[in-house]
Amino acid sequence: MSAGASQTGTNVLAGFAAARPGAVFAALLLGLVALACLFAPLIAPQDPFDLSSFDLLDAELPPVWQEGSDARFLLGTDAQGRDLFSAILYGTRISLLVGMLAVLIQAAIGVPSGLLAGYFGGRVDSLVTRAADIQLSLSTLMMAIIVMALFRAGLGGEALNRFAVPLLVLVIGLAEWPVFARTARASTLVEAAKDYVRAGRAVGSSDLAIVRRHILPNILSPLVVVATTQVAGAIMAEAALSFLGLGMPVTKPSLGTLIRSGYDLMFAGAWWVTVLPGLVLIGVLISVNVLGDALRDWLDPRRRVR
């Protein structure tokens, strides 16, 4: 098929879909997961955050396809008798929420600083670039682990549990803004040299108006690609922190917390508490990464020529 200049409107989507069946599958899977998470309160048979609603007599029941299961619990239960299907729905919800909010913070800091650095150059540029270099040389995950560990050791587990979501969003969000800043800066450098920017200046538009109304829309596509891969990274970071016991508490589990709490049970034979949330996490991460790769190939003009 000819991928090229004639693609317009719905044809663009059709072309994208035909060229990349894997990406379409990934997008469908993500859409399904996102819908399930959005309507979790309607779908889930149980409220996994309400400790009084589970019964210890139901603890460690296997999924329905295994012997000794209970038809009320589709994917079995954990050590406290919590319905695993409900816990995974709510857990994925928390994981996706933290991942997307963290990336919003990254973009909110990174995109403006990258735009300004690329547009104004000079001192602004060297300041932003230097700050970004320093931030990147400290590994994100290590910084997040240290900050969450200090919060936990300082405030105690109780206080951490109450502020877990905003803390995780802030820590993961603040650590990775340079990725957006670098991409925005590089693209802005290219755009700022173009004629339309000079034309904008000639008719008397202010710098701010040029950057916001003219340059920003033109550099959106690389930023979208970066945002996709960053969401995968943020979800993975949240899961890692929760697995270490430095993220979401057991009373309000994300996928990482579920994997951790099931890990102790695995050798007693209750593999599902760890493996099922793990599979959901891997499915989400692979889908986001595949979608990101496909978007990059599709939006990158240099690659499309081939």
């Binding site: 040389s137 400290l138 590994s139 994100t140 995950l141 290590m142 910084m143 682990i145 240290i146 560990a149 200090l150 936990r152 050791a153 300082g154 105690g156 995968a232 993975m236 899961a239 890692a240 697995f243 270490l244 016991g245 430095l246 994997i259 890990y263 695995m266 050798f267 593999w271 760890t274 493996v275 793990g278 996490l281 891997i282 991460l285 692979i286 990464n289 595949v290 790769d293």
Partner: protein, 330 residues
Amino acid sequence: MKAFAEGAVFIARRLAQALLVMLAILVIAFAVRTSLGDPLREIMGQAVPESERAQLRHELGLDAPWPVQLARYLGRAATGDLGTSIIYKRPTVAVVLAKFPASFELVLGASLIVLLLSVPGGVYSAVRPRGLGAKLILSVSVLGISVPVFLTGIFLITVFSVWLGWLPAFGRGETLDLGVWQTGLLTLDGLKHLILPAVTLSSIMLPLFIRLVRGAMLDELGHDYVRTAHAKGASPPRVWIVHALRNALLPLVAVGGLQVGTLIAYTLLTETVFQWPGMGFLFLEAVTRSDIPLITTYLVLVGLLFVITNTIVDLLSLMLDPRISLEGTR
């Protein structure tokens, strides 16, 4: 001679920079200690009357203004004393350093796997970019990037320990005491215990390095000297390995050095999964039990490790690459 002098200035500058970073880390560690920890608890526990506490506080100089305390802290740090652990009742530096061999051997094992697989894999997928093998390598590496390291560990344990029963899942196994260094590399049991954790840790770094080697090789293969070498009749493997690969490895040293922090974080995760008695495992124990002196000591020592590796990497790339200019030495 002039170049030598410039090199010496560069090295001196780099070392001064490293010292400055260490000083900053120590100041942060001091701030964390004084704001989060109660040094009295380290010594006497909770159940002691207030009058006795006040007296001890005075004797220990804890009622002194903070600049004085900071100076004392730095002075002690210079002699290698960073406090006493609440859990272990021993000097924290000794406690953390005792766990260093375990972490080091884990990282060593993983690095060997990464090195042995990433170079051939990267070179192969660069010289045959459209081959089936290259596509396979790249798709497996997407999978490797997407699967969190702790899940890789859990799946390996499920298959090789729980189902097949071939390899042990926890701890270091039998170790040999070599005075200051407890090694698991010299016993069969120790080596068996190392396999799964090392493979797990390498699984997360491997995709990155394969992509790096591949990218660097692709860059080098586009250069004129490669065409010249082909033209003069050198065999293709010779061109790839002797000519291109040697130059392609230069950027690897620099980028590899930048990954130290990430490596420490992934080591921490791997140690948690396999209950590997290393520094990261100790750190998490200190966090759950709020052992502030132990936590800050870990941070200072990891910071030191980070600074040392970065300095070495900088000096290495200076030695390896004659083209790196010594700008900024003036």
